[in-house]
């Protein structure tokens, strides 16, 4: 079993996933902050559809995923108050487009199936490079972005009251979400990407006391779930995506642990 896990074939996918899992979880925390948790599935589903359409157009899968997720970000920006109802429509469109586009070619069908199944083992060097770039971008802009997103949420008129534009941080966050979802979806598959964006943040939201702890706890849960899923998927010879989803679903029971008591950090 150890031999299988240490197979050089799995090194690159393993490292790529290990970098992406905590990033996706942290982005999920901010999506939850903005009450946009269902947007995570809409982004993932459309990124998957974009990847399949890209195959039909003989374009790179990741490029198609980025363009489709970016399209959603633009539409979301044009809607003054995008609610979860809008995201349901995007999810349905993404699902339908992915299945229709995959019927056009055998390659499209294979890519569509792998995005639905979630086969991390097919990730290559571009995914790893993209994951590293994503982390660098996140580390650089998160200190500024985090404060802006929190102010927007809890003091909605702070920006207009002080003659400041909210657009720069809104656009930066949307770009970060688009990049994270596109890379995570093409690496983990649609549902596994959504699970990483949703479940760790959902658990941490309930258990953590303090904003910094929410971020660390969500990232920690994502890494733990990822490592466990990787081992289980290799050992049991199962597709990675569904195993990760099931592990995260099981970990969601952690939400029923007692909430933190004031005075005991």
């Amino acid at each position: 079993m150890l031999e299988l896990l240490l197979d050089p074939l799995f090194h690159l996918p393993f490292v790529t996933g290990l970098l992406l899992a905590p990033v996706a979880a942290m982005v999920g925390v901010y999506l939850r902050l903005r009450d946009e948790w269902l947007a995570a599935l809409a982004y993932a589903q459309l990124a998957g559809a974009g990847g399949v359409v890209a195959v039909a157009l003989h374009a790179p899968v990741m490029l198609g995923a980025v363009v489709a997720a970016g399209g959603l970000a633009v539409i979301k920006g044009l809607l003054t108050r995008p609610g979860n109802d809008h995201y349901v429509i995007f999810i349905l469109v993404g699902w339908g487009v992915a299945l229709v586009a995959s019927a056009f070619s055998a390659h499209g069908d294979m890519v569509g199936k792998s995005l639905m199944d979630g086969q991390l083992y097919f990730t290559g060097r571009p995914h790893l490079m993209a994951a590293v770039a994503l982390i660098v971008a996140g580390v650089l802009c998160l200190p500024w972005l985090s404060g802006c997103l929190l102010m927007s949420r809890f003091y909605p008129d702070h920006f207009s009251a002080n003659g400041l534009s909210a657009r720069p941080h809104q656009i930066t966050f949307d770009l970060l979400v688009v990049a994270t979802v596109a890379i995570t979806t093409t690496s983990f598959g649609v549902m596994a990407a959504f699970a990483l964006l949703f479940v760790p943040a959902w658990i941490a939201w309930r258990l953590a006391r303090g904003w910094v702890w929410v971020l660390w706890l969500a990232a920690g849960i994502a890494v733990a779930a990822y490592l466990l899923s990787f081992v289980l998927a290799v050992v049991l010879d199962q597709p990675f995506g569904p195993v990760l989803v099931l592990v995260l679903a099981a970990m969601s029971l952690l939400r029923w642990l007692p909430m933190p008591v004031p005075g005991r950090r």
Partner: protein
């Protein structure tokens, strides 16, 4: 002395006018109350100062570089919220000041574990303790019992530090106690 803010015949609302015309000036260090009955448009007037309500007529002039903090009538408080009071006061810059004891004992709690009154006090301190030049408090006595209201009056007196405060309330006694000047507001 130049005023921080001038409202001259201001008529404000949303789809249609709700309040005005209202005229008043605000000078540095003043505590001014906007007093009016429920539905008079006091909150709408404050929102017009922060750009959240539409100005239909009149003139609003702000001092250059004026920084504002706005405590809304219904502050944002998600049903489940892991942020602590400490997170909130750090966010607005109030974390740089030493909070009064009444506030300090609440800062370690998650926002969803505070009572309505406790949350109100933390929110008000997050605005009062911020580096804003002009602080807008909209119905700050909401959810407060008489003892907490007395604590709020102390908080305003000790926490303002010579800055300017514009308070909206329908409670005449509270306005008369904390304000140096009162502006009546009617629809």
């Amino acid at each position: 002395m130049q005023p921080l803010l001038v409202c001259d015949g201001l008529i404000a609302g949303y789809d249609r006018p709700v309040v005005g015309p209202v005229s008043f000036d605000l000078y540095a260090g003043e505590v001014v109350g906007l007093l009016g009955s429920n539905g008079a448009g006091k909150s709408t007037l404050l929102k017009s100062l922060t750009g959240q309500a539409r100005i239909f007529d009149g003139r609003l002039t702000r001092a250059r570089g004026l920084r504002m903090a706005h405590h809304r009538q219904q502050p944002v408080r998600p049903r489940e919220c892991p942020l602590t009071g400490d997170d909130l006061v750090r966010l607005t810059g109030a974390g740089r000041r030493t909070p009064p004891d009444d506030v300090a004992r609440l800062l370690d709690c998650r926002m969803d574990q505070l009572s309505g009154g406790q949350f109100q006090i933390v929110q008000i301190w997050a605005c009062l303790g911020s580096p804003a030049d002009l602080i807008l408090l909209d119905e700050p006595t909401n959810n407060l019992d008489p003892e907490a209201t007395a604590g709020l009056i102390r908080l305003i007196r000790e926490g303002l530090g010579g800055r300017t405060l514009l308070v909206v309330s329908h409670e005449s006694d509270f306005i008369q106690t904390v304000c140096s000047r009162v502006v009546p507001v009617s629809p």
